[in-house]
């Protein structure tokens, strides 16, 4: 298959978050702001690319019966690396993402790509697939995080977005619900609906 097409399929056509509805838990939990979404997206992209690389290179050595535990072992190794690197270098982000970093292990996107793609394709294609899917995930998370941050906190990447009227103390009157839990579900629901509509239009 055309490698460019392989790379871009994760952006819209097979977007893991908006079309395949995989990895919903981290999507909802870590999209409180654009920067959190970006952090989570990059962490997952790293794990995805590395695990695809390793699994595609050793796919002929793994006996079919124990392939799932073997995949999980590879994935868990990289997740532990990400966990400790983030803890050491960006402790603030690590605290924000919390339990969702170790939970990348059971993320259906990573295991899904290992099983459905990396165990059947060449190393190069698998790496490209990992990057494509990872960026698609990051893009979706940043969109979700962007909408929630602008509406809920009145900021974008921490910079003020002056669209809300100020209250008595001069603080913008934002729609707080969007950075709280219900806002995640609402925005995600409408984004999936919008993607469905876009896809139907394109077809």
């Amino acid at each position: 298959m055309n490698q460019w097409k392989n790379f871009t399929k994760g952006f819209l056509r097979e977007n893991p978050v908006l079309v395949l509805i995989l990895g919903t838990c981290p999507t909802l939990a870590t999209s409180t702001s654009v920067s959190n979404g970006l952090g989570m997206g990059l962490a997952l992209t790293f794990v995805l690319v590395m695990s695809n690389l390793v699994i595609a290179s050793i796919k002929n050595l793994i006996p079919g019966k124990v392939r799932i535990p073997a995949f999980i072992l590879v994935i868990a190794t990289f997740v532990t690396i990400v966990d400790y690197v983030l803890k050491g270098y960006v402790p603030a982000l690590h605290k924000e993402l919390g339990v969702f970093i170790p939970l990348i292990v059971v993320n259906c996107i990573v295991l899904g790509r290992a099983e459905a793609y990396a165990s059947k394709n060449s190393v190069l294609s698998s790496i490209i697939d990992g990057f494509g899917m990872g960026f698609g995930f990051t893009l979706a998370l940043m969109t979700l995080g962007g909408i929630r941050e602008i509406l809920g906190a009145g900021t974008f990447f921490g910079m003020k977005v002056p669209i809300f009227p100020a209250d008595m103390q001069g603080n913008p009157k934002t729609i707080l619900i969007f950075i709280l839990a219900p806002g995640a579900f609402l925005v995600y629901g409408y984004l999936v609906a919008l993607t469905n509509r876009l896809k139907n239009k394109l077809n």
């Binding site: 509805i21 919903t24 838990c25 981290p26 909802l28 939990a29 535990p69 999980i72 072992l73 868990a76 190794t77 997740v79 532990t80 966990d83 400790y84 919390g98 339990v99 170790p102 939970l103 292990v105 059971v106 993320n107 259906c108 295991l111 619900i177 709280l180 839990a181 219900p182 806002g183 995640a184 579900f185 609402l186 995600y188 629901g189 409408y190 999936v192 609906a193 919008l194 469905n196 509509r197 139907n200």
Partner: protein
């Protein structure tokens, strides 16, 4: 008293699905009928409690003494996967009636992020074994409560006419959002 606070706090105030965003997949996937929701809920209560007890013991009696806490993620996921398999085999042999009821849900639970998530959170919150067990049971009861409520709403939803683009996942997510809004009412309970 302490246990009651843990119970209300984790079953209602920070409900696992509606406030902590764990276990969304089974919540959306196995909630089309109230009957299956009850089955899934029961299976989750059972497996989650077992998993927390075993991972807690492994963490404090194996990983900590040998200073290999960094193996937490790897060891926990394998313990949970093995545990689920074992429970399945034991149930099949010794309690076939229970296996009939829970059987099909058990394999689904292995990759349920809620089980691993709660096992890790119990360690992060530095609970002792008793507190950890109460915490896990409360969380699982909260999950069951939410999934049964949601299944009830979805059964009604079958009868309504939803705009084409919103059918399926989008409307389910929006309903979850409204349910989550309702659960925020519990916020000042503890």
């Amino acid at each position: 008293m302490e246990y009651i606070i843990i119970f209300i706090g984790s079953a209602f105030v920070s409900n696992i699905v509606l406030a902590q965003f764990l276990g969304i997949c089974p919540f959306l996937g196995v909630s089309t009928k109230v009957g299956t929701a009850v089955g899934m809920g029961t299976a989750v209560i059972f497996v989650m409690t077992l998993a927390t007890i075993v991972t807690w013991l492994i963490y404090y009696y194996l990983l900590v003494p040998f200073h290999i806490e960094f193996l937490q993620t790897i060891s926990f996921i394998f313990i949970i996967a093995a545990l689920v398999q074992m429970v399945e085999i034991i149930l099949k042999k010794s309690v076939p009636s229970l296996y009939q009821a829970l059987g099909i849900y058990l394999p689904l639970i292995t990759t349920n992020c809620a089980v691993l998530g709660i096992a890790i959170l119990t360690i992060t919150k530095e609970y002792n074994l008793m507190q950890g067990v109460v915490y896990t049971i409360s969380i699982a009861v909260g999950f069951t409560f939410a999934i049964i409520l949601f299944a009830g709403i979805r059964e009604q939803l079958e009868l309504t006419e939803v705009p084409k683009g919103m059918r399926g996942i989008p409307i389910a997510l929006i309903i979850t959002g409204i349910l989550s809004l309702a659960f925020m009412g519990f916020a000042n309970l503890v």
